[in-house]
């Protein structure tokens, strides 16, 4: 009787010690593995001229068919009277939410957040086309790809360009450098510095989605270069 009690206590103690040691090492691993990224994009509306070079580059690089789009520049205006009229350009694309509603509702796990990059991705072969994600996305940026028949959207050109060490197509095609892409975990990155120092905002923050598409709002709905 005594023996088995001692044995049990010993065993339980060893197990607890082992578990806590495992937890501690796992936590330290999780907090800062060298390869971990948290990609984000910033759109400076004051610099954007609405030339649509980004939307065209996106369509070409990612082979997005006509009729659907991963990226759109929504133009509002004109504001003011001739000859001093202006327009406001707003980027509409996946916001790569930290707490993504599309991922939460996906019944098959086709929509997921890549833990290494923070990018919201779609596993085409897992997607059954139930449209839950399209209904759940508060930013209305998801669509069914007419060729693959799976849900599709911006992935920061993860497949087509990031994997080759290149910046997303929209960023490189922008003639006025209105788009800044980078890693929020890298304190030296341009996007980190801008988010820290500029008056940035994000769409529908109150929903608790924590989007990673930051915007510097146009001063007064006009283009200032």
């Amino acid at each position: 009787m005594d023996k088995s009690k001692r044995f049990f206590l010993k065993g339980a103690g060893a197990l607890l010690a082992g578990m806590s040691a495992y937890q501690a090492t796992r936590a330290s691993e999780h907090s800062s593995p060298a390869s971990q990224r948290k990609y984000a994009l910033l759109h400076d509306e004051n610099r954007c001229i609405g030339c649509d070079a980004c939307t065209q580059a996106c369509r070409e690089v990612n082979q997005v068919p006509e009729g659907v789009s991963r990226l759109e520049i929504v133009r509002t205006g004109p504001h003011g009277e001739y000859p001093n009229q202006t327009y406001h350009f707003e980027r509409q694309s996946c916001q790569h939410c930290e707490n993504a509603p599309c991922v939460n509702v996906c019944p098959t796990g086709a929509a997921y957040k890549d833990p290494q990059t923070g990018i919201i991705k779609v596993d085409e072969w897992k997607c059954v086309g139930c449209l839950y994600c399209i209904a759940a996305c508060p930013y209305k940026v998801r669509f069914i790809h007419p060729v693959t028949r799976a849900a599709d959207k911006c992935d920061f050109c993860e497949q087509t360009r990031l994997s080759k060490g290149e910046l997303p197509a929209c960023v490189t095609s922008c003639p006025t450098q209105a788009l800044v892409f980078g890693d929020l975990l890298d304190t030296q990155s341009g996007v980190y510095q801008l988010v820290r120092t500029q008056p940035v905002s994000r769409d529908k923050e109150s929903l608790g989605t924590s989007p990673k598409l930051f915007k510097i709002r146009a001063a007064k709905g006009e283009v200032i270069l």
């Binding site: 070079a53 065209q56 205006g77 009229q85 006025t176």
Partner: protein, 152 residues
Amino acid sequence: MSRLPLLVALVSLLSWLPVQAKESSSAAMSEIHKSPCMKCHKRNGTMQGIHGNSDLTVSCVDCHGEKQGHPRKASDLVVFNAATPAETQVKPCIECHDPQALGTLEWTHNVHSNKVSCSQCHQLHPTEDPMVSVTQADRAAMCQQCHQSKQD
């Protein structure tokens, strides 16, 4: 036997083509080319564009201004090139073309208004204005011609 209608269509098409060519060359004979300006300015080329259509009764002076002392003495003739202020160049165009209507047709008209001259994009003298057949990619590239340099 069934090929006969096709042959007839082809022959009629071929006979129609030279007529079209003759018509475009007859643009050189439109009213605008009887203007006294053409006595000297033939070497600058003829007015082939839609503005040269006799039915529009547009004359050289309507856009370029009155001759005044030209060529020996001073004149206020408008030359549509980079040396002339944009506002001066836009003025004769908006006499006929309503800025609001232009803006509805193509939003970029509104933002450039009288700050960029129409002639920076449009050409009236050739048969077809290059802007008529511009593609989406050309369009974005044209924006970059000016806007890229401004950022550097």
